[in-house]
């Protein structure tokens, strides 16, 4: 039950309407950053206040919420956010990707393909993909307005010239609907292809920078690259030590003091489901 003294999902109705308007604008112009009047939240920046405000604005009493951090449901960050929404909205939560209607995430996209009945909410620390290349916001706004993205390709060119390949392993820049350059948030480049033509609505909230942007269902999302240096989603060339998956994104674990290492799925729900699936099939 909702605690007395709180509006449903913490934010007052006027604030939710304001954020929903920003979300609608964002959906109407895929990949374009919309400013919004971010509210102080009872969690510090860096804890996903932008994602939390987006989730709070779209949440209804029937929703089932999943929160992941680096692919896991049980990290401090994910647990706190889930507990927060249970307390202020009284909604059901789940670890199962397939059962969630809203998934708030930091740093991953679930392995299981999402559906039209789901919304993926990303926590975004820095919404501006040109942030490191062009420090002036007025100039980055102009670059976006004119789709004048040569500068981003210069950055990729520089990587190949110095290192022989594009060095960005996270937050790898994408073109949305062949119009706006967008930061996918610090997800691994491995996850970028999942954004392309995704059935679920993707919403991005940056609390500190006060920006919301979106990728509507079935929108083309293309990772920038060169014809002779095509984008490649990289994963560790191993099988998960627990479920044996050779296609999921893996985390590297140090297993003992002798420096033993193992690779396991970063998406804990996916790994869990794969462990249970053979048993279910056998029964």
């Amino acid at each position: 039950m909702t605690e007395a003294g709180y509006n449903f999902a913490y934010l007052d109705e006027a604030t939710k309407r304001m954020i929903r308007r920003a979300i609608l604008k964002a959906v109407a112009i895929p990949g374009h950053q919309i400013p919004f009047g971010a509210r102080e939240m009872p969690l510090p920046y860096g804890w996903g206040t932008g994602g939390i405000q987006v989730t709070a604005s779209i949440l209804g009493p029937q929703d089932v919420l999943k929160v992941i951090d680096q692919g896991a449901d049980d990290t401090t960050n994910a647990v706190s956010i889930r507990r927060f929404f249970t307390r202020v909205a009284g909604i059901a939560t789940t670890d199962a990707t397939g059962e969630a209607s809203i998934i708030q995430t930091r740093h991953r996209i679930p392995e299981k393909p999402l559906t039209e009945n789901q919304i993926l909410v990303y926590q975004v620390p820095q919404p501006e993909p040109l942030f490191k290349l062009e420090p002036h916001r007025a100039e980055t706004r102009r670059i976006h307005a004119l789709a004048d993205y040569g500068l981003m390709h210069v950055r990729l060119y520089e990587d190949i010239a110095r290192l022989g390949h594009i060095a960005k392993a996270y937050d790898y820049p994408v073109m949305v609907n062949e119009r706006y350059l967008m930061s996918p948030s610090p997800i691994p480049a491995f996850d970028n292809p999942k954004m392309h033509q995704m059935a679920a609505l993707q919403l991005f909230g940056a609390g500190r920078e006060k920006r919301i942007y979106a990728v509507p269902p079935y929108t083309p999302v293309r990772s920038l690259d060169f014809e002779d240096h095509p984008f490649r989603p990289i994963r560790a060339p191993h099988a998960c030590a627990i479920c044996g998956s050779r296609t999921s994104y893996l985390d590297e674990l140090i297993t003992n003091d002798a420096g033993g290492r193992a690779f396991i799925c970063s998406d804990t729900d996916y790994c869990q489901e794969r462990q249970e699936a053979p048993k279910a099939a056998a029964e």
């Binding site: 102009r142 307005a145 004119l146 004048d148 993205y149 040569g150 500068l151 390709h153 210069v154 060119y157 520089e158 190949i160 010239a161 110095r162 690259d225 060169f226 014809e227 002779d228 240096h229």
Partner: protein, 251 residues
């Protein structure tokens, strides 16, 4: 003659000072026009107005018949990365100092849609050689280049997309005399090879003589004399032009 740029009746005041006082100028295809004058004569202001970077109080500027002053920012920028080029006096204003020489040359290609790394790199190497920079330095940062090399790199970066009209603001300004001469020779050779139209602002009469087909002499916001380079410099009519030319002879 195929007229590229055409300006008429330009006026611009900074307070009580007339920076441009009824200025008119034409640049035809393949023509190099120098605007000479001392600092404060209005020549750099004129260049900026013609390039659409600054609005005059009144007057018209047309490029291939289109209204430059009425262009949107988007249209102006598109022109700036296709048909036009701008070479700044200080190479730092025209280069990305944190980006390699190859990246600097390749940027305009990439802005126009080039997406083949190998081709961009080959083109950058060819252009470095063309401006007499060792292609082996393609991955070096411009901050490790001499002033003359930086200026040559800026020229390569500007010309790589073969603009029709290049604006140059005192391109040899900050350089040693011996370096200036080499750069002027290079600019002259490139202009000839590529058939460029150039509008160059300079206080250096010798540079104007070497490069320009025509000269406009500016003083206090007005064009006091203009004509073919040899005519203006060998037989100056206006007392101010005579003074400018004689001061070169004295130097």
């Amino acid at each position: 003659m195929n007229l590229l740029l055409e300006a008429r009746g330009l006026h611009l005041k900074f307070g009580a000072i007339a920076a441009l006082d009824d200025v008119a100028i034409d640049v035809s295809a393949g023509e190099v026009v120098a605007i000479v004058g001392e600092s404060g004569s209005g020549k750099t202001t004129l260049l900026r107005v013609l390039a659409g970077q600054m609005a005059p109080d009144s007057g018209t500027v047309r490029y291939l018949g289109g209204d430059v002053l009425g262009m949107t920012e988007a249209e102006r920028r598109r022109l700036m990365r296709t048909d036009w080029g701008f070479v700044h006096q200080n190479p730092r204003d025209g280069l990305r100092m944190g980006v390699s020489a190859g990246g600097n040359v390749g940027e305009r290609l990439m802005a126009l849609g080039a997406r083949h790394y190998g081709n961009i790199r080959d083109e950058a190497k060819a252009w470095l050689q063309r401006v007499e920079i060792d292609a082996a330095r393609i991955d070096d940062l411009p901050r490790h280049f001499s002033g003359g090399m930086q200026q040559r790199l800026q020229i390569a970066r500007t010309l790589v997309t073969r603009p029709k009209l290049v604006f140059m603001d005192e391109p040899t300004g900050g350089l040693d005399v011996s370096v200036q001469a080499r750069l002027l020779d290079l600019i002259r050779a490139l202009v000839h090879e590529l058939g460029l139209s150039v509008l160059i602002v300079t206080h250096d009469i010798a540079a104007a003589r070497l490069l320009a087909d025509r000269i406009l002499v500016m003083r206090r916001g007005q064009v006091v004399e203009q004509g073919l380079t040899d005519r203006v410099l060998d037989d100056p009519q206006h007392p101010y032009t005579q003074l400018l030319v004689s001061s070169v002879l004295a130097a």
